[in-house]
Every structure is written in structure tokens, then in C-alpha cells.
């Protein structure tokens, strides 16, 4: 996994609540057996005027010019600012894969759906929870100035907007540690293989049926 330490980027405002994973990456694109290449179909139904299919030449498709990510001022955006319960719906990791493939490094919202939130960390994408008021203030700042940028300092756990005070955010120690160092979680867990084996031994005695072959 790629490290995340500090990031400075252009902010794109997606002013919607409950953005679900079907919106982030529609189901027809889940048929890929790869982790990459989902970026051109991020928010497909909002971004394009026609219906998208896997394997299409997306550069030839008619764009919905009103959609925020199609507006010239937000080209190159790497921080997504959005509303509550972002990423609700399915467990598809294709959602963070698509956001990252598009170029996003961080997402700021008042709340995230659990599974999506968790999936982000496995891929080096940083979901940041700020209060509704702080998110609202950032929306106003971003809408008020073209090219508004934000710096994210993971070590110091703060969002530093172009204007105003730095905004602190919470993050689990373990997740922070993995992001800062770009760690492979499976490798870390396998360091505890002895503990897993010892646990299994006890369970096998208490609940042998759980371990039955079939």
C-alpha cells in the first residue's frame, strides 16, 4: 500500500448526502477481475449523459457538464468534500478503487458508512470526519474561491484549509500507523500466527463442529 503522510490538493465539492456505492461505481463495472482502471467510470451515471458499459472508450462519451467533476475548475482535484453517510450501500471495494484511480487521496465528510470507511484504509485513501458545521464552512469556502486547496497532515491529525484555522480530526492509532508507513496488514497479522493457532486449538476443543471438513 502507498504511504499517506501529508497531502496538499485541490478540493472538489460534491454537495449530496447518502452518496451510495452504486453511485460511486455502478454495478456493471464490478465485473472486472482487476483492482485498477475504475477511475473513468467513477460516478458514471452522474458524469456522463449516456449509459456506461465496461470496455467503452469513455473519452468519446457525452459529458454531463453540470456535474461538479466535469467543471474545468475542479480538474485535478484530489480531495473530495461531501455530505453525511458517504459510501453507504454495498461492500464493494471497487468504490475506493475508483476514487483513487480517479486521483482522489482523501475524502472529507461529516460521516461515512462503516464498510466503505474501512475499505478506504486498505487502499491508502484517507476518509476524514469533520463536524457538520466545519464541513458546511468548507463548502462555503470552496464555493467562494476558485482553486481552493487544502493540506492534510496525517501525522498531526489536522486539515489545514487555505483560509481559517486548522481543523483537527480523529483516527484510529492502528489505521494511522498503517497509512503513515504503507504497511501490508496481512503481513502484520501473520506475525501473530502463533496466537491464532493457540486460539484455534481452544476453539476446536469447545466447538469442534466449526472446524469440520465438508
Amino acid at each position: 500500500m502507498e504511504k499517506f503522510v501529508r497531502h496538499d490538493g485541490l478540493v472538489a465539492p460534491l454537495d449530496r448526502a447518502n452518496v451510495d456505492t452504486d453511485q460511486i461505481i455502478p454495478k456493471q463495472f464490478l465485473k472486472s477481475i482487476k483492482r485498477t482502471g475504475f477511475g473513468p467510470n467513477l460516478f458514471d451515471e452522474w458524469r456522463y449523459l449516456d449509459e456506461g458499459f465496461p470496455g467503452q472508450d469513455n473519452s468519446a462519451r457525452p459529458l454531463n457538464k453540470d456535474f461538479v467533476l466535469n467543471q474545468p475548475v475542479y480538474q485535478g482535484a484530489s480531495v473530495l468534500l461531501t455530505r453525511r453517510n458517504f459510501g453507504c450501500g454495498s461492500s464493494r471495494e471497487h468504490a475506493p478503487w475508483a476514487l483513487m484511480d480517479f486521483g482522489f487521496k482523501a475524502i472529507i465528510a461529516p460521516s461515512f458508512a462503516d464498510i466503505f470507511y474501512n475499505n478506504c484504509f486498505k487502499n491508502g485513501l484517507l476518509p476524514i470526519v469533520l463536524s457538520e458545521d466545519n464541513v458546511e464552512a468548507l463548502f462555503q469556502a470552496v464555493n467562494g474561491k476558485e482553486g481552493y486547496r487544502i493540506t492534510i497532515d496525517l501525522e498531526g491529525q489536522q486539515v489545514i484549509p487555505e483560509t481559517g484555522e486548522p481543523l483537527p480530526f480523529e483516527i484510529d492509532e492502528f489505521r494511522k500507523h498503517c497509512l503513515l508507513n504503507g504497511l501490508d496488514e496481512i503481513g502484520l497479522t501473520l506475525n501473530e500466527a502463533d496466537a491464532i493457532r493457540a486460539y484455534e486449538k481452544g476453539r476446536m476443543e469447545r466447538e469442534p463442529w466449526v472446524f469440520a471438513d465438508h
Partner: protein, 472 residues
């Protein structure tokens, strides 16, 4: 000291290590695998030269992509990308020695129908799957939740997950459910009350006399949609209904093991003095047959209501969400639910494709006819075994006589990854779980309902109150 909740007990029984930073390693007893969220996980294992920790922990089947018209081999799947995923799962399970119920196997079906049906999920287990509706399995007093593909790989390689303990929430539904009110109406009502993010961060236990009165199938319907209330995991405590359901299933313990298992499983209930971080109490008498009108499962109303007015909503974010939903759905605030016409009907999905669901739909369809204005009514059983049972009972003939289509098992039009889908602008009465924009096909408009309500809409051509069907 306060007693323990069911979730506390399940968590503690699976704790491998508690780390100082607050994270924990929990042991996973069962992983269910399907074709869409597993290819990248198996690829990850190969790239790192890792082997599955314990192959007997996993069981796989195909569901999301499969056509619901008969097919004999992967080569018969017309869509190239779907065929590759189905084939890839077959290759991966063979390479790594994992049991798969594949094409032509009567046990093949939707992951969350197949696993309980096989007894592959029994009380007291931790159960994961790369699918958010894994919460379904919590109906058997399991800690069951969806995970992403990186975690699918993590569980394959280590049989554990890095997790943090969730908070406890209990939703108690007390009293007797009224006529025509099903498990689906109960859970839609609950989501309407607590909201689509109300359960975020919680393990949700469904309790109360109305919950206990539900069959296992009904409890699965309720737990299935815990995720639609934001909760990764939903669960119901063990009682006689649970024990009777599990007994005799192919993977279930037998003989002396069974007695030992049953004795342990009976302890899987929240203690009387257990403390919940959040409690929600619902009177069963307040629940009516439900219909979702918008693009989030919380946008739900009783069938005898009129659609809500966004102007009356004080929360600005919610209000703008409602306005957007009205625009997408092509509906008007204040209109009666029963004026909404349906173009297609879908009876199936991991929410409502079990035998009890099909019986409820068939009871309505019997002796009636699909309305001429309805283009298609799909009935898609949850597994080959459900299909077989339904045919034994003659339900297939009832559906076909009513002008409904009787299909092969799979996820089908719940998420439209296979050829079953809505056209833009079409309204669908659907027994599935998500009414998101485009979920059942680009531009499609989904209304979530119970199987009986879906069948009633199919014969009337618009939503009808199932309690007044004969007058409609």
C-alpha cells in the same frame, strides 16, 4: 457488573488478541465467497505466494452475475465479463481447494440463502463475505457482516480480521403484527424510524415478541436489511426456532456434537441485565405494509399514506435529498402511494427469495392475473433447493398461470448485473433491499415492498394495500 449482550458474547468468544492501540484480532469461522468480490483477493494470495489459512472455513457459490434463464456451463453466459468472473471463481476455488456450489449444482444460489440452508452458518459463528448483506446470517445468532475485497484476502490468508468492537443497539418490536404485515414491513418500518445511517457503528440486535414470532426466514429478511439502517451486523438471539431450523442441515453438527452445540447455543442470548448503548422500542401495532417511494431505504411510507412533503422536513440536507429523489422518481409530494403505477415486478433477492417468501407471493397470485399494463413479473428463487421445494409445492405453476416468469436462482434484478434489469423511467415493485438511483438498471425506479405486496402490485398494475386486495 452488568450482563452481556449477545454481541458482547460473540465478540469475546472470537477475540484472538486485543492490541494496545485499541484494535483487535478476531477469529473468523466462516467465509462465504462469490464471484464478484473475490477475484482480486485470490490474485493477491498468488502474488504474495500465500495459501489459505484453513480451506474448510470457506464455501463459495455463484450468484451476482448468473443468468436466470437455464444454462449448462460458463460458456453459455453471453456477457463476456460475467462469464470470466464465473469461470475465475471456479478456477480459484479449484486451485485453492475450496468447496464451491457451481453451475448445475442444486445447492447453488444467493450466498445468504445457500449458507444458512446448508447449515454452513450455525449459531455462535463469526461469518464474513464480500457482500454487505452478510448481516442476513446474524438471524442465526452469529456475528455476521460484509467486508471489502482486501479483507476477503486477509481472512483467506489469516482466518482473522483486524477489528474494533462496535457499540450495542437493540431494536425491540413488541406486540402482535397485524394481518398482511410481514418481516419485510417490520424492517422497512424500522429503517424509516432510525434512518439509513441510524445504525452506523452499531451491532444491531433485533428483539421483542414480534421478532420472536417470526420464522427463521423472516428473521433473515430483517437482519438482511440491518445494513440499510447503517449497521454492518444485525442479529437475533437463539430460541427454539433457531435450533429447529439448524437441526439436520448438511453442515450442522450431528450426534454428541449436536447436544454439546445446542447446550452452548442456548446461551447465545443477551443477559437480562445487559446494557445497550442505544435502545429503540417499536409497537408492532404501529407497523403497516410499507412501500419505499424514494432513492434511500429510509424514504418509506405505509401503503395507505400519501407521499411526504419535503417542505415539512426541517433538516436541510434531508430536504434537498428528498427533492432530488422526487425528481429522479418522477413522483409528486402528496400523491397517494396506491396511485403509483408499476411497470415491472421483481420477487427475489437475498432479502426475500426463500420458500416462505415464494409461498406468500403465490398465495396472492393464485387465481389472479398479471395486469396488462405490467410488462414483466420475475420470480427468482434464492437457490436451487428453494426452487426444487417451490416446484414440489406447485408454486411455479401458480406463478406461470398468473403470467409471472419462473426463473433460475441468482441475485438477478436486485442489482442488475445479469440481463434482468429495468429500463430508464420504469417503476418496479421489488422485494429487494436497495432503491438507490440506477440500482436495478440505469434510470430505473425501485419501490421496496414485501413479496405479497409485490405480487398484489403485479395483479393490480399499481400499489395496493394487501389488506384490501379483494376490494382493489
Amino acid at each position: 457488573m452488568a450482563g452481556k449482550t449477545l454481541y458482547d458474547k460473540l465478540w469475546e468468544a472470537h477475540l484472538v488478541t486485543q492490541r494496545e492501540d485499541g484494535s483487535a484480532l478476531i477469529y473468523i469461522d466462516r467465509q462465504i465467497i462469490h464471484e464478484v468480490t473475490s477475484p482480486q483477493a485470490f490474485e493477491g494470495l498468488r502474488l504474495a505466494s500465500r495459501q489459505p489459512w484453513r480451506t474448510s472455513a470457506s464455501v463459495a457459490t455463484i450468484d451476482h452475475n448468473v443468468p436466470t434463464t437455464p444454462f449448462k456451463s460458463a460458456a453459455d453466459i453471453a456477457d463476456d465479463t460475467s462469464r470470466i468472473q464465473v469461470q475465475t471463481l471456479q478456477d480459484n476455488t479449484r486451485e485453492f481447494g475450496i468447496t464451491e456450489f457451481g453451475i448445475g449444482d442444486v445447492r447453488q444460489g444467493i450466498v445468504h440463502v445457500m449458507a444458512p440452508e446448508q447449515g454452513a452458518v450455525v449459531p455462535g459463528m463469526t461469518v464474513v463475505c464480500g457482500d454487505s448483506h452478510t448481516s442476513t446470517n446474524g438471524a442465526l445468532a452469529c456475528l455476521a457482516h460484509g467486508i471489502g475485497t482486501s479483507e476477503v484476502e486477509h481472512v483467506l490468508a489469516t482466518q482473522t480480521l483486524v477489528a474494533k468492537k462496535m457499540n450495542n443497539m437493540r431494536v425491540s418490536v413488541e406486540g402482535e403484527l397485524g394481518p398482511g404485515v410481514t418481516a419485510k414491513d417490520v424492517v422497512l418500518h424500522i429503517i424509516g424510524v432510525i434512518g439509513t445511517a441510524g445504525g452506523t457503528g452499531y451491532a444491531l440486535e433485533f428483539a421483542g415478541s414480534a421478532m420472536r414470532s417470526l420464522s427463521m426466514e423472516g428473521r433473515m429478511t430483517v437482519c438482511n436489511m440491518a445494513i440499510e439502517a447503517g449497521a454492518r451486523a444485525g442479529m437475533v438471539a437463539v430460541d427454539d426456532v433457531t435450533i429447529d431450523y439448524v437441526k439436520g442441515r448438511p453442515f450442522a453438527p450431528k450426534g454428541a456434537d449436536w447436544d454439546k452445540a445446542e447446550a452452548y447455543w442456548r446461551t447465545l442470548v443477551s443477559d437480562a441485565d445487559a446494557r445497550f448503548d442505544e435502545e429503540v422500542n417499536i409497537d408492532a401495532a404501529d407497523i403497516k405494509p410499507q412501500v419505499s417511494w424514494g432513492t434511500s431505504p429510509e424514504m418509506v411510507v405505509p401503503v395507505d399514506a400519501n407521499l411526504p412533503d419535503p417542505a415539512a422536513e426541517s433538516d436541510e440536507v434531508k430536504r434537498s435529498g428528498m427533492s432530488r429523489a422526487y425528481e429522479y422518481m418522477g413522483l409528486t409530494p402528496g400523491m397517494p402511494v396506491t396511485d403509483i403505477k408499476v411497470d415491472r415486478v421483481f420477487i427475489g433477492s437475498c432479502t426475500n427469495s426463500r420458500i416462505e417468501d415464494l409461498r406468500a407471493a403465490a398465495e396472492v397470485a393464485k387465481g389472479r392475473q398479471k395486469a396488462g399494463s405490467v410488462k414483466q413479473v420475475l420470480v427468482v428463487p434464492g437457490s436451487g433447493l428453494v426452487k426444487q421445494q417451490a416446484e414440489k409445492e406447485g408454486l411455479d405453476k401458480v406463478f406461470v398461470a398468473a403470467g409471472f416468469e419462473w426463473r433460475e436462482p441468482g441475485c438477478s434484478m436486485c442489482l442488475a448485473m445479469n440481463p434482468d434489469r429495468l429500463e430508464a423511467g420504469e417503476h418496479c415493485a421489488s422485494t429487494s433491499n436497495r432503491n438507490f438511483e440506477g440500482r436495478q438498471g440505469n434510470g430505473g425506479r425501485t419501490h421496496l415492498v414485501s413479496p405479497a405486496m409485490a405480487a398484489a402490485a403485479a395483479v393490480a398494475g399499481h400499489f395496493v394495500d394487501i389488506r384490501e386486495l379483494d376490494q382493489a
